[in-house]
Structure formats: C-alpha cells, structure tokens
C-alpha cells in the first residue's frame, strides 16, 4: 500500500493535482541519461542543455510515481505507455533547479490515465509534458 501523499489535491473534475516539487538537472544524472540514449562525444558540443526527454527522470519521482501507481492499482491492471509529448517554451540547462507540478486524470472505457506536468522556473513555465497511460489487465500466471 502506498503511503499517503502530501502536496496533493483533487479538483471538481476528480483530477489529482500534485506539487510543486523541486527537481534538479544534476550533471551526473544528465550524463547518465545521455549515456543510456545513444549520445556520442560528437553530439555533446551543446552540453549545457538538458536532453529533450531527460525530464522523464522527474516523472518517476517518489510522489508522482506513488500517485500514478495508486491510480493504476485502483483500475486493476498494469500501465502501458501509449503516448508522450514534450513541448518546450525554453530549453532547460544542466545544474539548474526547477519546479514540477502535475495533474493526473482518470478516464474509463478504455481505462487510461493522463498525466500532465509543467516544469517552471521563477513562475515561468518552460516545459509542458503529457503522458498517456493505458491500463491493461494482467493475465493470471499459469498454474
């Protein structure tokens, strides 16, 4: 059972709002992400920039992850990643701190979760992220 989550509220539509939470683009995390996603030395000329999809790391932060897992559990299945969108207003830089806010909405028939995240700095939204997860049933293991 997941622990209760602080910093979260539900609005009239039932959407769950979380945050803002502090997140950081630590150089060591960015380098590990680059190493895992096919970057070569020749691609690193502009290395102060955070890779476009690096904020996936922040989506797996404890608070957001626990909230998503609780929603998936309540729908009774496993989460299948259906679509993913990143829309930048400004690029993110290595070794900078940002704030992350999220909203999770449940849809039925078929069961889906939409997770909308915004990443901001000094009240400016720099990045919007939308994740759609389909929640599919799991077959029982063979005897």
């Amino acid at each position: 059972m997941n622990e209760p989550i602080e910093d979260m509220t539900a609005d009239a539509s039932g959407a769950l709002r979380l945050g803002p939470f502090p997140v950081s683009a630590k150089r060591s995390d960015v380098e590990a992400f680059r190493a895992a996603t096919g970057w070569h030395e020749a691609d690193l000329k502009d290395s102060v920039r955070v890779p476009h999809t690096f904020p996936m790391l922040w989506l797996s932060g404890a608070e957001l992850r626990a909230a998503i897992e609780a929603k998936v559990q309540s729908l009774g299945g496993i989460a299948i990643h259906e679509s993913q969108t990143f829309t930048y207003q400004k690029p993110l830089d290595v070794d900078r701190d940002y704030l992350l806010s999220a909203e999770i909405e449940t849809h039925t028939n078929p069961d889906r979760l939409s997770v909308r995240v915004s990443v901001s700095e000094m009240n400016d939204v720099l990045l919007d992220i939308e994740t759609i997860l389909r929640v599919a049933g799991v077959n029982e293991p063979s005897p």
């Binding site: 096919g38 790391l57 990143f86």
Partner: protein, 146 residues
C-alpha cells in the same frame, strides 16, 4: 510580411530525409542502464515473468529509450537546429535482443516569423532474422533555428 526564412540560412527542404540510425541489439544491460538513468523501473521491462503475465513474448525495451535516441540523431544531421517539441505514439513493443532503426523526414517548413521545421519520425523494430521491421512508434518533432 516577414516570413523569417532568409537566404542566409540553409533551411531544410520538405521531403528531405534524415540519415537513418540503427541501434542495438538492445541487451538487458542497456535496458537496465536506461531504467537507472530515467528512473523507469517498471518491472514489465526488467522481469520476464511479469512480461509473460502481461501476454508479451519477452521483456519490451522502454519506448522512451528509443525516443531518447532521436535527439542525437537530429543533432548529427543539423547542429544549427534545436528540438522544441516532440510528440510520440507507441504502437508495438520492441523486445530485448532486437535492434531498432530510427528514420525521419521533413514534412513541413512553416513560413512563420520564427520558422518551424516539422519532422515525421519513426522507429522500426527488427528481430534479426532478416524479417521486415515492425513499426514500433511514430513521432512528430518541431525544430527551430538555435
């Protein structure tokens, strides 16, 4: 009207193809490396029992691992452009041990004040037995001049 498209900048042409990039075979070490780097430790990708229970033939590699490879592919093509948005739909899984191939094409260059270059991007998974690739994901990327 200022279209933003000047003669001094070599804008990509509609229909232009990006050089393809073949990646893999993706082994468990690569999947674990991505799981660690992205924090996505969903056991579907890491635990064969869970993958089989979900009706899959093997552990699927993270779809976002393949998506992450698009940016270095785009930068290798044009370092003077930057990716400002990327929207991906995941269609079929690619499994551990398979390779994937990224491809892309310019589908539109908008004559805005700050022109947008719109790319159609795809990843195909290959089983390695000479079979044709399966379309694993499609994406649309928007680029702008740095």
């Amino acid at each position: 009207m200022n279209t933003g498209i000047t003669d001094t900048f070599a804008w990509p042409q509609t229909g232009e193809h990006l050089p393809k990039r073949r990646c893999g075979p993706v082994d468990m070490q690569a999947i674990e490396r991505y799981a660690h780097a992205s924090g996505d430790t969903n056991p579907l990708h890491l635990d064969l029992t869970i993958a089989l229970r979900a009706g899959l033939e093997e552990r699927p590699i993270h779809g976002m691992l393949m998506v992450g490879y698009f940016e270095p592919m785009i930068l290798a093509w044009r370092q003077d452009l930057e990716l400002v948005s990327l929207s991906t739909k995941f269609l079929r899984p690619v499994f551990v041990g398979q390779t994937f191939e990224l491809s892309g094409r310019v589908i539109r260059v908008t004559p805005d004040e700050r022109p947008n270059i719109i790319l159609r991007l795809m990843a195909h998974g290959f089983k390695g037995d000479g079979a044709a690739g399966d379309l694993a994901l499609v994406a649309e990327g928007k680029l702008q001049q740095k």
